[in-house]
C-alpha cells in the first residue's frame, strides 16, 4: 500500500452519511513532534499558515497495524451548500443592480437617437416644417444640425418641382385633346373595315411581315375560339398553326413574299383552336403593299373544310372496314367448314373406337369368365386359346399356342396349343429365349410380328404353308411369364388396334397366370404348414411325456424323502439298542464284531437318509463359504453305491491350496451330481474311470470332471444345454439336468465348458469365482430330483 505523508485518504460518498476515510499505518518506532500547547483551532490556523503536514511522523519502522479514521462529511457538505446559497444571492443582487444601471445608461445613450428617429419619421411623412432639437455638442448634436440643413434644401427643391408640374400638366391636357379627336377618326375607319371583314363568310386574317396578326374577322375568332384581343399581336405560325404544318405555311408565306408563289394558289393548313381541336382550312393568300410597292402585310382568307374532310375520311374508313369485315367473314366460314369436317371424322373414329372397345371388352370378359371356372392352368389356357383364335372380327388363322416360362430351364415351354400339327408340337415344345419369334418376344418383351416365313421364323419346316405370326409377350410386373403365339395369313398387315388388343389380352393372361400360380403356391404352402403342424404336435407330445416323467420323478422324490424320514426314527432306536448291547461284557468277540458292524451300518443308513432329505429339499438360495473338496466328497458318498455297482473307478486330484468359495451349496451339489450321474451312465460297464481334478487359477477355481465314456456326438454338442434335450429316452432322462446346471453356474458368475471325443470321453470344466458378491441364482432352482435320472 502506498501512503502519502504517512496517510492514505479516500472518500466514501456512496453511503447515507458520506465519509472521509484516513488510513494511517501504525509503526513500531513512530514518533510525533512535540506540539505547542495550543487549542485545536489555533493549531489548524498555524498549520495553514505554515503549509506543513500536521504532526509529521517518521515513516520508518515496521508496520504493526493500521488505524482508520472516518470523518463525517455531513457538516462539510452543509457548509458548502451555505456558501453556494450565499454565492447565488450575491450574484442575483449584482445582476439586479447591473440591470438597473444598464437601463439608465441605455436611456442616456439612446434617448437623443430615438428623438431624432421620431422627427425623421414625421419629415418622411411630408411635414417638412419640423426640425430636430439641438442637443449637447457631441456627435449626435452635429448629426442633428446636418440633418436640419438637409431638410431646408429639400424644402426649396420641393417648391420648384411643384411649379414645373403645374406647367407640364397644362401641356398634357392640350395634347390629350388633339389625340382624342384623331383617335375617334381612326376608330371609325377601323370599325368600318372590321364590319366589312365580319360580313365575309370566310376567315380573314391580316399578318404583318413577321407573321404577327394585325387583324382578324369575327369568323376567324369563332373558328379559333379566342377573343379578338387575345389574338391581335400574336404570332400566327407559332400559336395557331398545327405544329406539323408550321414549316409548310412558313415556306408558302416566304414564297409568296418573295414572289415565287402566285396569289391565287390555294393550300390546306390545319389550325389549332383554343380548346385544342384541329380545324382544316383551305387558304388563299394575297399580299398588301404600301405606296412604295413594299409588302406591308399578308391578307389570308380561309374556308373551314374540317367537316367536309372528316366526312370524306369517315367514308373512306367505312369502306375499308367493310372490306375487312367481308374478308374476315369469308375466312371464318372456311374455318367453320373445316371444323365441321374434322368433327364428322372424329365422330366416325370415336364410333369405330367404341365398337372396337366393345369387341375387345367382350373378348376379355369371356377370357375372365373362363378364368374364374375351376379348371387347372393347362385346361384354362386351352380354353382361352380356343376362344382367342375364334374371335370373328380378328383376321387370324384358327391356330396358335401358349408358352410359359420354365424357371428351372429358363426356356419357353408349350403349355397349350390349337390345331398344331404333331411335328410342330415336338419342334416348338421348348424354345430358348431369343430363338425364333416367340423367343425374341420373350427376350425383348415386345410384340413380334412377321407376315411371311422369313429368317426370323427359325423353327420352320420344308413344305410348310406360308403364314405369319403375332407373338405377344405375357408380362407381369416387368417379368416375362410366357408368350402367346397366333397365326395370321401371309401378307397380313399389322395394325395398331390389333397390337393394342393383343397387348390387352397379354395383360389379362398375365393376371390370370399370376393368380393361378399364386393359388398353386398357396396350396403348396398350406400342405407344408400342415406338415409342420404335424411335426410340432409330435414334438409337443414328446415334451408332454417328459413332463409326465418329471412329475413321476418328483412324486418319487417326495416319497423317498418321506420314507427316509420315517426310517430315521427306527434306525436311531436300533442304533441305540445295538450300542447298549455292545457295552455288554458277556458278549464274545464274534458277537461284538457283529454288533459293531450293525452299528456302523445303522450310521450309514442314517447318513444316507439325511442325504436323501438334503437332496429333496428345494434350494435355500442362501450362499455360504464352502470347502469345494468336502462338497465333492459328499456327492461321491451319495452316489457311491451306484458308482460301485457300475464299477466306476474314481480318481481325485485335489489341489492343496483350495480356498473356500462363496456359493449356494445345494445348487453346486446339484450341478456336480448331474455331471457325475451323466458320466456314470455314459461309461462302459467294465473299465469306467471318472477323474475329478481341482485347480486354483488367479481369481477363480476350476473343477474338471473327465470320463472315458462314449462321448457326445458333434451334432448334439450345441444342444446339450437346451432344456428337455436328452439322448436317454423319455423314461430315463428328463433333459433338464445340464440345462439347470448351466443356469446355476451362470448364476454364480462362473462358466461351464464341455469337450467331447467319441474315443476319449467327455470333459466338463466348471469355473467359479473365488471372491464374489451374492450369487444371482433363483430361489426356486429345480429341485434335486430332476437330476436323479441324469442329464442328457
Amino acid at each position: 500500500m502506498e501512503f502519502k505523508n504517512n496517510h492514505q485518504i479516500s472518500y466514501d460518498k456512496n453511503r447515507e452519511i458520506p465519509f472521509l476515510n484516513i488510513l494511517t499505518p501504525i509503526r513500531t518506532n513512530s514518533t510525533v513532534k512535540k506540539q505547542p500547547d495550543l487549542s485545536q483551532d489555533d493549531r489548524l490556523l498555524e498549520l495553514e499558515q505554515k503549509f506543513e503536514p500536521p504532526f509529521p511522523q517518521e515513516d520508518t519502522g515496521k508496520i504493526i497495524g493500521y488505524s482508520q479514521l472516518s470523518i463525517s462529511l455531513e457538516k462539510l457538505i452543509y457548509e458548502k451548500q451555505g456558501i453556494l446559497h450565499a454565492g447565488f444571492l450575491i450574484a442575483l443582487t449584482i445582476i439586479a443592480v447591473g440591470t438597473i444601471f444598464s437601463f439608465a445608461f441605455a436611456q442616456m445613450m439612446v434617448g437623443p437617437i430615438l428623438a431624432m428617429t421620431r422627427t425623421t419619421t414625421e419629415i418622411a411623412k411630408g411635414n417638412l416644417k419640423l426640425r430636430v432639437n439641438k442637443y449637447a455638442k457631441d456627435e449626435i448634436g452635429v448629426l442633428g444640425e446636418c440633418f436640419n440643413s438637409m431638410v431646408d434644401s429639400l424644402e426649396k427643391r420641393d417648391t420648384e418641382i411643384q411649379k414645373l408640374n403645374k406647367s407640364l400638366e397644362q401641356k398634357v391636357k392640350e395634347r390629350t385633346k388633339k389625340l382624342g379627336i384623331l383617335n375617334m377618326q381612326l376608330r371609325q375607319e377601323r370599325d368600318k373595315t372590321q364590319s366589312y371583314l365580319d360580313i365575309a363568310g370566310v376567315m380573314i386574317v391580316v399578318l404583318d411581315v413577321n407573321y404577327n396578326i394585325m387583324l382578324i374577322n369575327n369568323k376567324g375568332c369563332e373558328i379559333l375560339g379566342y377573343e379578338y384581343n387575345e389574338i391581335i399581336g400574336e404570332n400566327w405560325l407559332d400559336n395557331f398553326i398545327f405544329p406539323q404544318n408550321r414549316q409548310q405555311q412558313k415556306t408558302i408565306f416566304d414564297g409568296l413574299m418573295a414572289g415565287e408563289i402566285k396569289s391565287f394558289e390555294y393550300n390546306e393548313a390545319v389550325l389549332l383552336t383554343k380548346d385544342g381541336q384541329e380545324r382544316i382550312i383551305l387558304w388563299h393568300n394575297s399580299l398588301l403593299k404600301d405606296e412604295n410597292k413594299k409588302v406591308v402585310a399578308i391578307l389570308a382568307s380561309g374556308e373551314d373544310i374540317t367537316k367536309r374532310k372528316h366526312a370524306e375520311q369517315e367514308l373512306k374508313n367505312y369502306r375499308i372496314r367493310l372490306e375487312d369485315l367481308v374478308k374476315k367473314r369469308t375466312v371464318e366460314l372456311i374455318n367453320i367448314n373445316k371444323q365441321l369436317l374434322e368433327e364428322i371424322n372424329e365422330r366416325k373414329k370415336a364410333d369405330d373406337a367404341l365398337q372396337r372397345k366393345h369387341h375387345i371388352q367382350s373378348a376379355l370378359n369371356s377370357m375372365l369368365n373362363i378364368s374364374i371356372k375351376p379348371y387347372n392352368l393347362e385346361e384354362m389356357l386351352n380354353k382361352i386359346l380356343k376362344h382367342i383364335v375364334s374371335i370373328p372380327w380378328l383376321t387370324l388363322q384358327s391356330r396358335g399356342a401358349i408358352f410359359l416360362v420354365d424357371n428351372t430351364t429358363g426356356k419357353l415351354v408349350m403349355q397349350s396349343y390349337c390345331r398344331l400339327p404333331e411335328n410342330l408340337q415336338i419342334m416348338c415344345a421348348q424354345i430358348p429365349f431369343g430363338k425364333c419369334l416367340c423367343g425374341k418376344a420373350a427376350i425383348s418383351k415386345k410384340i413380334q410380328f412377321a407376315n411371311t416365313l422369313d429368317e426370323c421364323h427359325e423353327n420352320r419346316k420344308e413344305g410348310e404353308l406360308p403364314h405369319g405370326h403375332y407373338c405377344i409377350p405375357i408380362i407381369s410386373s416387368d417379368k416375362i411369364l410366357g408368350v402367346l403365339n397366333l397365326y395370321v395369313k401371309e401378307g397380313h398387315r399389322r395394325t395398331k388396334d390389333e397390337e393394342e388388343f393383343f397387348m390387352a389380352i397379354g395383360n389379362v393372361l398375365a393376371g390370370i397366370i399370376k393368380r393361378k400360380q399364386a393359388e398353386e403356391g398357396l396350396r403348396k404352402a398350406r400342405d407344408e404348414l400342415e406338415l409342420r403342424v404335424d411335426e410340432r404336435t409330435a414334438e409337443l407330445k414328446t415334451i408332454h411325456e417328459q413332463l409326465l416323467h418329471i412329475e413321476k420323478l418328483s412324486a418319487l422324490g417326495k416319497l423317498a424323502a418321506s420314507v427316509a424320514h420315517e426310517f430315521n426314527n427306527p434306525v436311531y432306536g436300533i442304533s441305540m439298542v445295538l450300542e447298549e448291547l455292545a457295552e455288554n461284557k458277556y458278549l464274545d468277540l464274534r458277537d461284538k464284531k457283529s454288533i459293531s458292524l450293525a452299528i456302523r451300518e445303522c450310521g450309514r443308513i442314517s447318513r444316507l437318509i439325511n442325504s436323501l432329505q438334503d437332496f429333496y429339499r428345494p434350494s435355500s438360495g442362501l450362499a455360504s463359504y464352502v470347502n469345494i473338496h468336502q462338497l465333492i466328497d459328499d456327492i461321491l458318498h451319495f452316489c457311491g453305491k451306484k458308482l460301485k455297482i457300475s464299477k466306476v473307478k474314481i480318481i481325485k486330484e485335489f489341489t492343496e491350496d483350495m480356498p473356500e468359495i462363496f456359493v449356494v451349496t445345494d445348487q453346486i451339489k446339484q450341478v456336480f451330481l448331474n455331471i457325475i450321474t451323466n458320466a456314470e451312465e455314459a461309461m462302459p460297464l467294465v473299465s469306467g474311470c471318472l477323474s475329478i481334478q481341482t485347480r486354483v487359477l488367479k481369481d477363480k477355481i476350476q473343477v474338471i470332471f473327465k470320463d472315458n465314456g462314449r462321448g457326445i456326438s458333434k451334432k448334439n454338442m450345441d444342444k446339450i444345454f437346451e432344456p428337455f434335450f436328452t439322448t436317454k429316452g423319455t423314461v430315463k432322462g428328463t433333459g433338464l439336468g445340464l440345462s439347470v446346471s448351466y443356469g446355476i453356474i451362470k448364476g454364480h458368475k462362473g462358466d461351464i465348458f464341455v469337450e467331447s471325443n467319441s474315443d476319449a470321453g467327455t470333459t466338463f470344466t466348471i469355473e467359479l469365482p473365488i471372491k464374489q458378491s451374492k450369487p444371482q441364482v433363483e430361489q426356486a432352482v429345480a429341485p434335486m430330483y430332476y437330476s436323479m435320472g441324469g442329464g442328457i
Binding site: F55, S67, S72, K80, F105
Partner: protein, 119 residues
C-alpha cells in the same frame, strides 16, 4: 417622396440591445466570480478537513501503538471511544498488520466503513 417609403420595423431597439449587452457582461462576470469563489472555498474547506483528520489520525496512531503491539482491545476500544467524541469524527477502526479488525467504534447506527488492507 418620403410618404411612399415603406415603414421598416426594427426587431430589437437600441435600448434593449444596450441593456442586453451590459446585463450579459454583468451576469457572466458575476457567475465567473461566484464560481471561482465557491470553488476556492470548497477546496479550502476540504483541505482543512483532511488536515484536521490527519492530525487526529496521527494522534490516534501514536496512542494506539502499544495497544496494537499487545493486542489489548480494551485499551484500543477506550481510545476509540475517546477519539469519536472529537467533532466531525464519525467512526474509527484499528486493524492489525494483516487487516484484521482489532477495535472499532462508530457514532452512527449505520455500518462502519471497513477498508480492505492490501499489503
Amino acid at each position: 417622396m418620403f410618404g411612399k417609403r415603406k415603414k421598416q420595423r426594427v426587431a430589437l431597439g437600441l435600448q434593449p440591445k444596450f441593456m442586453t449587452y451590459i446585463v450579459c457582461i454583468i451576469v457572466l462576470t458575476s457567475a465567473l466570480f461566484a464560481g471561482h469563489h465557491i470553488h476556492k472555498l470548497d477546496t479550502i474547506l476540504t483541505r482543512e478537513l483532511e488536515e484536521k483528520g490527519q492530525i487526529i489520525a496521527n494522534s490516534l496512531t501514536y496512542n494506539t501503538k502499544y495497544g496494537v503491539m499487545t493486542q489489548n482491545t480494551k485499551i484500543l476500544n477506550k481510545l476509540l471511544a475517546w477519539i469519536i467524541q472529537e467533532e466531525d469524527v464519525g467512526a474509527a477502526v484499528i486493524y492489525d498488520v494483516d487487516g484484521v479488525v482489532l477495535a472499532k467504534k462508530s457514532r452512527f447506527k449505520q455500518n462502519i466503513p471497513i477498508l480492505v488492507i492490501k499489503k
